[in-house]
């Protein structure tokens, strides 16, 4: 099946088995290795990407469902320059240990900032409730996202 979509600001067309999961398309076809698979069950959020402005788990999406969608991964944020601010504050607040959850956290935070430019801690906590982190205990991540929101400057 031919599928068209926009990935990290580039138009793409792929010819692929429609029952391929989005996480596999991104990792295997496009080598976007920021997209991690943890549980494969929608529970851990490691595979979180943004589709049409919203955070979603790419392990529970088939490629047949993404026709015409606009998809962002961490590599796209890197290209646009936005990733810098995430790097700066995640580092400053000690929000990265093993790093496995980090790309998913970044995408969930970025999607939150689409919807809510000035989230409070509770709103941040809710936004990343679907992202499991085995290392940090979450508070450092919430601190980092709070600082990022304060610095602001995100387009939608």
């Amino acid at each position: 099946m031919k599928i068209n979509f926009i990935l990290n600001d580039e138009e793409k067309t792929v010819d692929i088995q429609p029952d391929t999961r989005l996480v596999d398309l991104l990792r295997e076809r496009f080598n976007l290795l920021s997209v991690k698979e943890g549980c494969g069950q929608g529970e851990c959020g490691a595979c979180t990407v943004i589709i049409d402005g919203k955070a979603v788990t790419s392990c529970l999406i088939l490629v047949s469902q993404i026709e015409g969608s606009i998809i962002w991964t961490v590599e796209g944020l890197e290209k646009s320059g936005e990733l810098e601010i995430f790097k700066k504050y995640f580092k400053k607040h000690g929000a990265v240990q093993c790093g496995y959850c980090t790309p998913g956290m970044v995408m969930s935070a970025r999607a939150l900032l689409n919807k809510n430019k000035h989230p409070d801690r509770e709103e941040i906590r809710k936004a990343i409730a679907g992202n499991l982190c085995r290392c940090t205990g979450y508070n450092n991540i919430i601190d980092a996202i709070t600082a990022i929101a304060e610095e602001g400057g995100f387009g939608v």
């Binding site: 929608g42 959020g45 047949s64 026709e67 969930s108 679907g130």
Partner: protein, 286 residues
């Protein structure tokens, strides 16, 4: 492993034709429930009908005394929608408790009903409000109570749910949704409860109570003993212990001897307590 056949129809009538013609078909809406079984679906050689290219099933409208919600509306959109927050607040609340942000962004109300997992958070509130759904198959359209649909799932297997119809909450009604789970967020309900009560504005007497408990059996369980206890009483006449006893008895009747019975018969009282407080806030008359 054999691959799945996936169809991506652009029109409802093509969906109906596929449902009619194909064996082992499953409808793919948001996918947050169905794709958990991806490996099994492949093994069984299932056929998927992916609804992502169907337009026109993503609306929310108030029509007289009913809210009509297209079956492909996501829980994020339900939770955020001002009309639903005003006229079906318990549904808005329950929708905000479905899974994580990522799940709510994909999961649809139609999928939640069609899949009807025992712990689905939208079901007790839909049941309590007496919601109906519009279903279609090759033979035509039908409107059926959610309760009836859930009890006759085989009959409706080859149907497409197109809309959900919910009687709006009137000024003389109190709606409630509560859930107990292992964690605060993103957790499957261990037990949940949806309520709609109607009271007489003059004296605050409850004239009708609909109460459904989820995660107890395959479909929502009507708490008829509790309904009976509440009906005809004013809020200030309710006795906590008798109310709790009726809740516990409902749990005991539904899951006798199940290992979770002792836990759930206590948990239900926590929810009952929240509900009583809501009643006292909203429905007290001096």
């Amino acid at each position: 492993m054999s691959e799945l056949k996936v169809y991506t129809p652009g029109e409802v009538k093509e969906v109906l034709k596929l449902l009619h013609d194909k064996e082992k078909v499953r409808i793919l809406a948001g996918g947050t429930d169905l794709l958990l079984e991806l490996i099994k679906l492949k093994r069984e050689g299932c056929v998927l009908i992916d609804l992502s290219r169907i337009e026109g099933l993503e609306y929310i409208e108030k029509k007289d005394e009913e809210l009509e919600i297209g079956s492909l509306v996501t829980f994020t959109d339900i939770h955020d929608n001002p009309v639903i927050n005003k006229y079906a607040p318990a549904l808005a609340a329950a929708s905000g408790q479905v899974g994580s942000v990522q799940i709510r962004n994909r999961a649809t109300i139609g999928g939640n009903i069609a899949h009807a997992s025992p712990a689905a958070d939208s079901l007790p509130v839909l049941l309590a409000a007496g919601a109906r759904i519009k279903v279609l198959n090759a033979a035509g359209a039908e409107t059926v109570l959610v309760e009836e649909f859930l009890h006759n799932k085989d009959k409706y297997r080859n149907h497409l749910i197109t809309a959900i119809l919910i009687p709006v909450k009137g000024d003389n009604m109190i709606d409630f949704f509560g859930k107990v789970a292992y964690r605060r967020d993103v957790a499957t309900a261990r037990i949940n409860m949806g309520v709609r009560t109607v009271y007489q504005p003059e004296n605050g007497k409850i004239i009708k109570a609909s109460i459904f408990l989820g995660a107890l059996s395959k479909t929502g369980v009507r708490a008829d003993l509790v309904e009976e206890y509440l009906t005809g009483k004013r809020v200030d006449e309710l006795e906590r212990e008798r109310f709790f006893a009726a809740l516990r008895e409902t749990v005991d009747k539904s899951i006798p001897g199940r290992y979770s019975q002792p836990y759930k018969r206590r948990a239900i009282c926590g929810l009952g307590d929240d509900f009583l407080q809501e009643l006292q806030r909203e429905g007290s008359y001096e």
